[in-house]
Symmetry: C2
Subunit: 212 residues, 2 copies
C-alpha cells in the first residue's frame, strides 16, 4: 500500500483554497498548470496528487472548478462535521475559539477545558469552559472526534492519555513536545515556527524563491 505523504495532504488543502477562491470569483474551469502555478508546483505534480484518488477532469479540457472542489472536500473529509474539544484556554486556545474559519470548515468546537477556576464556567463564542476533572466522561458524552492540545508542555501527555480514554481519535498538538499515542490515534503537531523559517529562507535566498 502506498501511503499519502503529509506534503501531498498539505497540497490538497492548498488546492482546495485555490478552488474556493476561483469558485467565488466565477471561474468555471482550471488546468493542472494553473492550479499548480497558484501553489508553486508543476502541472505534473497536481495531476499526480489528484490521481491518487481517481480520475478528475478531462485531457485537454482541464477540471470543472466546482466538481473538483467538491471531490477534494470529500477526499479531505471536509464534507462533514468534526466535533472538537480545546484543551487549555490560554492564548492559543482562545485564538482558536475566536477563529471563525474552523466553524465554517466543519470543525465544531463543542467544549473547552481549563484548570483555572477563574475561567471555568465562562463561555467564549458559545463554548463553555469546563474543569478537566471529568474530561474522559465529557469528551465521551460529546462524541469528540478531535482534541486540540494547547496546555503547557508539562500537562500535555497526561491530557492526551485521558482524551484517548474518552474516545478521541485525532490530536492537534500545539505543545512543543513529542507526544506518544497508540497506533490507532492520529496526531499532528502544529509548528508555529515553520512559516517564519520559510521567510528566513526567502530573505536569505531571494533569487531562489518565486514571489507572486
Amino acid at each position: 500500500m502506498e501511503y499519502i505523504s503529509d506534503f501531498t495532504i498539505h497540497r490538497l488543502s492548498k488546492y482546495l483554497r485555490t478552488l474556493s477562491y476561483m469558485e467565488e470569483n466565477g471561474i468555471k474551469t482550471v488546468s493542472s498548470l494553473m492550479l499548480g502555478q497558484h501553489n508553486g508546483v508543476t502541472a505534473a505534480q497536481v495531476r499526480k496528487d489528484l490521481s491518487c484518488f481517481g480520475a478528475f477532469g478531462r485531457r485537454g479540457l482541464g477540471y470543472n472548478v466546482s466538481d473538483l472542489k467538491k471531490n477534494v472536500n470529500r477526499i479531505m473529509g471536509l464534507n462533514r462535521t468534526w466535533k472538537v474539544a480545546i484543551c487549555g484556554v490560554g492564548n492559543i486556545g482562545r485564538a482558536l475559539l475566536d477563529y471563525d474559519q474552523f466553524r465554517t470548515q466543519g470543525f465544531q468546537i463543542m467544549i473547552a477545558f481549563d484548570n483555572d477556576p477563574a475561567k471555568i464556567g465562562k463561555t467564549i463564542h458559545g463554548v463553555a469552559i469546563r474543569s478537566e476533572v471529568n474530561l474522559e466522561r465529557d469528551v465521551r458524552d460529546e462524541n469528540i472526534d478531535i482534541a486540540v492540545i494547547a496546555v503547557p508542555v508539562s500537562a500535555a501527555q497526561l491530557i492526551v492519555d485521558r482524551l484517548i480514554v474518552g474516545g478521541v481519535k485525532g490530536i492537534l498538538n500545539f505543545a512543543p513536545i513529542n507526544i506518544q499515542v497508540p497506533k490507532n490515534i492520529f496526531i499532528r503537531n502544529e509548528n508555529m515556527a515553520i512559516e517564519i523559517e520559510a521567510l528566513s529562507f526567502a530573505l536569505t535566498n531571494p533569487n531562489l524563491v518565486h514571489n507572486s
Copy 2:
C-alpha cells in the same frame, strides 16, 4: 532559474528538526533513507532537496549529523538574528510573545504594536508594547527585518503598507486575508487550519496515512 518550492523549504525545516533531535541524542551520522523515514519522504527526495544547495555527505557513508545541521541552518538563514516586530497583541500576538522557540531560533522580537490604550506601555517578556502612531519610524529605528501581522482583517493591509514604508522586508501574516505587497517584499500566510485539515484527511482515510 529553478525556484525552490514552499514544500522543499518546509521539508528543510523538518530535516533541521530531525537533525537537532539526533544531535541532542548523540547520533553522529544519518542516511538519506533515515532522514526521509523520520519525515515521511523517500531517500531520493531527501537527496534531491539537499542537492539544490551543494554536495553534502558521502556516498555509502551518509551525512555527518552536526555538519548537515550546520549547513541546513545556514541555507535557511537561521545562523543569524532576525529582528521581529509583532503587530497586534491579541491572542495570537501574545502567544508569539510567549513562544520561547522563536528566540532560540534567532527570531528576536524587538517591539510589539497595539492600538489599545490599556496595552500600550506594558511589557511582555521584556518587549514593550507601543502605539501604532509612529510605526514607520519605530520599525526603521529598530531595523526590523520581519513583521508579524496579528491584527484584525480590517487593519491588516494598511499596517503592512506602513511596515514596508518603514523598511520591513518580510511579512508573516496571520490575518485570513490576501495581502498585497510589492515584488521585493516576501510574505507568508499562516494558516491555522492546515494541520486540522490533515487530521480530517487521516481520520477519513486511515489506511492511506502512515502513522508512526
